[in-house]
């Protein structure tokens, strides 16, 4: 395994020339050459990432970040220079970025496998559940007592989550009228629900 890693990074004249030609062709828009080149580069990028100390489960992230960078930076490749050297620098940089982001995530997040299982589901509390059902019933009754224009606005925009234009088409009202009605409806509902609580 160690030998294959060393072989992957070792410069071979034929491979370097071939990759350089493919990249130059890719700069001219040759898709077949480009895709072949990127596929051939994957083991090379993985070897660079491993050498930088990237963990096996993050290697593919580094590969993808490197491929994206190659795509965005393809105009900067100079065919008179070594393509593997160009690619290696990009892969090294993306590996370092990956390690840094992994480190930041590790510092920010705590691995606690039991936390999810021990998390109390609020809906499991019968009292809370009963209160919520009661409140939603109250809200439904409050909406039903609103004037028709305001009720229509709440039903279309808030409950059915339609856009202003869709609601205007469905009700035959202007978007301005719908906005005004929604605003008045919310004010009325707040006042009624607030008074009851």
């Amino acid at each position: 395994m160690a030998m294959s890693r060393i072989d992957e990074l070792a410069p071979t004249h034929e491979r370097d020339r071939r990759w350089g030609l493919w990249m130059a062709a890719a700069q001219s828009g040759d898709r077949a050459a480009y895709e072949t080149l990127l596929r051939e580069c994957i083991p090379f990028i993985k070897t660079v990432a491993r050498k930088q100390g990237v963990q096996p489960d993050s290697i593919d992230d580094v590969v993808q970040e490197t491929l994206l960078t190659v795509h965005q930076a393809r105009q900067t490749y100079d065919p008179s220079r070594s393509f593997p050297a160009w690619l290696r620098t990009i892969a090294q940089r993306r590996a370092i970025d990956g390690l840094r982001s992994h480190g930041r995530k590790g510092a920010r997040e705590v691995h606690e496998p039991d936390a999810y299982e021990n998390y109390t589901d609020p809906s499991g509390n019968p009292e809370l559940h009963a209160n919520r059902v009661d409140e939603s019933g109250e809200l439904g009754r409050a909406v039903a007592t609103l004037p028709s224009g305001q009720r229509e606005a709440v039903e279309q925009l808030a409950l059915s989550e339609r856009s202003l234009d869709e609601a205007a088409q469905a009700t035959g009202r202007t978007t301005g009228a719908l906005k005004v009605n929604l605003h008045r409806a919310l004010r009325n509902l707040r006042a009624r629900m607030g008074a009851r609580n």
């Binding site: 480009y34 491929l67 930076a73 900067t76």
Partner: protein
Amino acid sequence: MANSDANIRLIETLGSDLRPVRRLAAPGWRALLWLAVVAAVAVAMVFYGDAGEMIRRFAMAPDLSLSFVGSALTAIAAAIAAFELGLPDRKPIWALLPLPPAVLWFGASGIGCFRSWLVPHTTLVSVGDAMDCWTFIVGMSLPLSAVLIVMLRRGYALQPVLTAAIGGLACAAAAATLLNFVHPFDASAIDLLFHSLAVGMVAFVIAMIGGRILRKR
């Protein structure tokens, strides 16, 4: 295996997005193009400024001409370094290229401070005049850095903040060089302080703003 499939799918997506691109010119040529913009401003200032007065000052105080050469060389070296750093396969050591001319620039300006203390009847700069110098360097750096950042964006800097900082140094050094055309004073400590503050501020601001603009992820 799923991840490997993701790699292959990404390659197909990138392939479908492939468009022909125009290869970038060599960084030296691109630096030359930006320096040509600075040179065009310099030519305009020779017409509108007092170049004769500048030459007389340089003849009387060689440290001023050394400082002028130092700032001009810093602008050239920093511009080359910024365009080199704007390519992914260049080493960060390019950032040190402007260091020797910068030492000459600030060293010669420092010597000027000593001379102004030792030689009587030297026209010294007031705080108000030094503020004008600061305003000139910062104000002139802004359009120069806008041009530079637009040019650098065509490349791909793997270290965008460092690249932008060196670009900012190039702009500030170019602006300080151009200042000589309209700067009828000998160097003084306060002058050096305001020049240094202006250069540091420009490099810092361009590093922060330009670094964000050059970051392409």
